[in-house]
């Protein structure tokens, strides 16, 4: 990991806060226009091509904890993302009766080092939900405004998939998808009986070459460990590094932005940050400030940037900054597929993540919840890791020995050893990821009683699910049980009930939180215009999920990048016309 601190450079054209999907895309596009740029990142540099940063292709025994998660890498010891739900010295608080878990990655590339590479376009309906169901607002833009940028992102980054012609699941410029794994075909037996579609997944992994800078996937299934040949998308490898090659990008790492500085007219003049290296405050100046720190972190910076011109926080005359915080819904179910016990062995790693998925397939007008969900499938003969072999105290009853007799829960000895071998690759499951309703009452604000180790006031979260999300989670579980049962699997555990909101995970857990700095045509009800430019500060822009009016039942990253590209082109135009 390297770091650099540069004291008082020249005035930059643009300062970009954050190096994730939005900040990375802005850096790439703005640097290509010849602009001088400072990218300010709270974590360290990271490059999986460097041997010292490589966790890819390591064996479980190379980790003393055998890949178990830690506070710093909750998704496993080999996971590339550094940070987690609970970062030393960087707390957040949650209001009583609320819940919210906030996942952060402190490193170049941000949370793009973690995500599942699921890269779905929002469809025409996804921009107009308020008009369709009357709950909340519609976006001030539509699919036709974003489509050209989705096309550009597809070409630049690469995404595999299949053309399906489904109205609200727009096709893109796809690379060829991989063939399904065995459990995926077996689960399809269940979905076929229920007329639920299962189509090739759409992941930003290169199954085919797109340029000479990045390699082609070699099917280790370890995208979450970061790819040493850049065959999957992460912002660091695919956006920040190419941007740096354009020559006018300075990368400031270990730099925690405290506020956006403003002048007497209320315009942005730059940022003030605390260096984690020397624990001192530093300042940078620029003509334009672009926030891409993540929906909540960018809202925090704006709310902490109060001035006489912006008494309610920067560009927050509307009072919406921090509000309409919403995450995707999520819950899942596991099962054991007896037909897959004692299966033939072959290398089934494939790409990192599922090879097939189910897009939303029903009509919400006929259901007791307003918005849909997609289904992700899992299973297969993946690499053993911490947890492999657990649970024999409840699962041995389903595992048959060589004579076809099922075992007794628990035990020890030769039979246990054989049963675990037999069981390998027979676990299957699925997860739903759904759309929630953005609400003013779900929000983050500055907690006046708490600051972090940099002296920066922290966020306090207020978030409760509504009946819409709870009903949706119940529907997910009913569906999962039927799919699993009809595909010949034995359900594990019990179906979560109303007391647990049908297994609905806490807000924040799906790591799709957006909406805190939303766009709109009415400055009284939104913080940004449709170009992600602040209504009340014309040289301030937001390129992360903060601008989202509603988060579809899709993963947000592709839309973050398409919008960041669109906003970057707008910034270039406005700068060249001297409007900002």
């Amino acid at each position: 990991m390297s770091f650099q601190i540069k004291e008082q450079p020249n005035l930059y054209d643009v300062i970009i806060v954050g190096s994730g999907a939005g900040g990375g895309m802005a850096a790439k596009i703005l640097s290509e226009a010849g602009l001088s740029i400072a990218v300010v990142e709270a974590g360290g540099d990271f490059d999986p091509a460097k041997e010292e940063d490589r966790t890819q292709l390591r064996w479980p025994w190379e980790s003393p904890r055998r890949g178990a998660g830690t506070r710093i890498r909750p998704f496993g010891d080999f996971d590339a993302a550094i940070g987690g739900w609970d970062i030393e010295g960087e707390p957040y608080t949650v209001a009583e009766g609320s819940s919210f878990d906030w996942f952060r990655s402190r490193m170049v590339g941000g949370r793009t080092n973690h995500w599942g590479r699921i890269s779905l376009r929002f469809g025409p309906n996804d921009f107009k939900r308020g008009d369709i169901d009357g709950l909340g607002e519609s976006w001030p833009i539509g699919y036709e405004d974003v489509k050209p940028y989705y096309d550009k992102v597809d070409k630049l980054i690469g995404v595999f998939g299949s053309k399906e012609g489904i109205y609200n699941e727009p096709d893109g410029l796809f690379l060829p998808p991989p063939k399904p794994r065995l459990h995926e075909m077996m689960l399809k037996r269940g979905t076929d009986k229920m007329n639920i579609p299962v189509i090739p997944s759409r992941l930003s992994i290169l199954t085919k070459r797109i340029n000479n800078e990045r390699g082609v996937c070699f099917f280790c299934s370890q995208c979450n460990r970061a790819c040493q040949i850049y065959a999957d998308f992460s912002s660091g490898t695919c956006l920040i590094k190419p941007a740096q090659k354009n020559g006018k990008v300075d990368l400031y790492t270990y730099a925690m932005v405290r506020k956006v500085t403003t002048d007497s007219e209320g315009l942005a003049t730059g940022v003030s940050f605390i260096s984690k290296i020397d624990m001192k405050e530093h300042k940078l100046t620029a003509k334009v400030v672009v926030l891409g720190a993540s929906a909540c972190e960018s809202a925090r910076i704006m709310l902490n940037s109060k001035s006489s011109q912006h008494p309610n926080g920067l560009a927050n005359g509307s009072g919406v900054v921090g509000h309409y915080l919403h995450d995707s819904t999520g819950t899942g179910r596991a099962a054991i597929m007896p037909a897959l016990q004692n299966r033939d062995r072959y290398n089934e790693d494939g790409v990192g993540g599922m090879h097939v998925y189910t897009p939303w397939w029903l009509d919400n007008k006929k259901l007791n919840f307003a918005r849909g969900y997609h289904i992700e499938y899992w299973g297969g003969m993946g690499m053993p890791s911490y947890g492999t072999g657990f649970g024999m105290d409840t699962m041995r009853q389903y595992i048959k020995d060589e004579f076809g007799n099922v075992g007794t829960n628990g035990g020890y000895g030769p039979g246990l050893k054989k049963d675990i071998r037999s069981y390998f690759g027979s676990m299957v499951g699925m997860s739903g990821r759904g759309e929630s309703i953005p609400k003013y009452e779900n929000f983050c604000e500055i907690d006046p009683n708490t600051f972090d180790k940099f002296g920066i006031p922290v966020l306090k979260f207020h978030y409760k699910w509504t009946e819409q999300e709870v009903n949706q989670a119940k529907h997910m579980h009913d569906t999962f049980e039927e799919i699993l049962t009809k595909s010949g699997a034995i359900l594990l555990g019990s179906k979560p009930g109303k007391d647990t909101q049908y297994g609905l995970q806490a807000p924040g857990r799906i790591i799709h939180e957006v909406g805190t700095i939303r766009m709109g045509n009415d400055p009284k009800k939104s913080a940004l215009n449709s170009n992600c430019q602040a209504h009340e500060c014309k040289n301030l822009f937001v390129v992360d999920g903060g601008s989202f009016v509603s988060q579809a039942d899709k993963n947000p990253t592709w839309t973050i990048m398409a919008l960041a590209w669109r906003t970057s082109e707008y910034i270039i135009k406005e700068l060249s016309q001297k409007n900002i």
Binding site: E348, G350, P384, S385
Partner: protein, 234 residues
Amino acid sequence: MDRRENLKLIMAGTLASSLVWTGCSTETKVVQAPVKAYIPPYARTDEELKILREIDEFTFFNEFELAKLNVLIDIIIPSDENSVGAKEAGVIDFLEFIMKDQPDNQTLMRGGLIWLDFTADEAFGKYFLEITSENQKQILDLIAYPDTAEPRFQNAVLFFNLLRNLTATGYFTSQAGLTYLGYRGNTPNVWNGVPQEVMEKHGVSLDSKYLEVYLKPEERDITAQWDDNGNLIT
């Protein structure tokens, strides 16, 4: 004072306080202490290295506990004609590390290991290690089958669930365990679907609709190009 002296004192204290031991000896087999924790040479932050070094600074299991564990883990995952057992696969080192890395499990583990001794004492008048392997299994059978175990052994059942879980995971994530399991991945390759004979065995087949769409291994190095309608043409 060395660890053996400590152990003697601890055991003597135990003798004096609560249990009436009959015919037992404080002599135990000396086993090799676990190797120092392995600190991976890659991709660790300063904070992670600090945690690893702190773990390395102390030893969790004493020699008496290690002696019991060496027996127990090979009872749980034994060797057979074609594969080694948990002990030879290095599971002890993993257990030592993971107890320190996940301290929430320490009390259950430690308490369970002592439970084995006083239960052996009450049943056979000796430490767990000093009874026959048949008698050891009689004690384990009290706690190894959660669905039928007597409620009064519930704590020890939870201990044995923990030990079974960690022993199994330590084994099946070791090099020997992976070989035994038959895992074939973690190596560069070209995925071209499930082998035909496996699909036939399970009665599944590829959807003909997608046969032309799926990735063709021989074309993956040709740079992608699309026509104006977004169709891949190379």
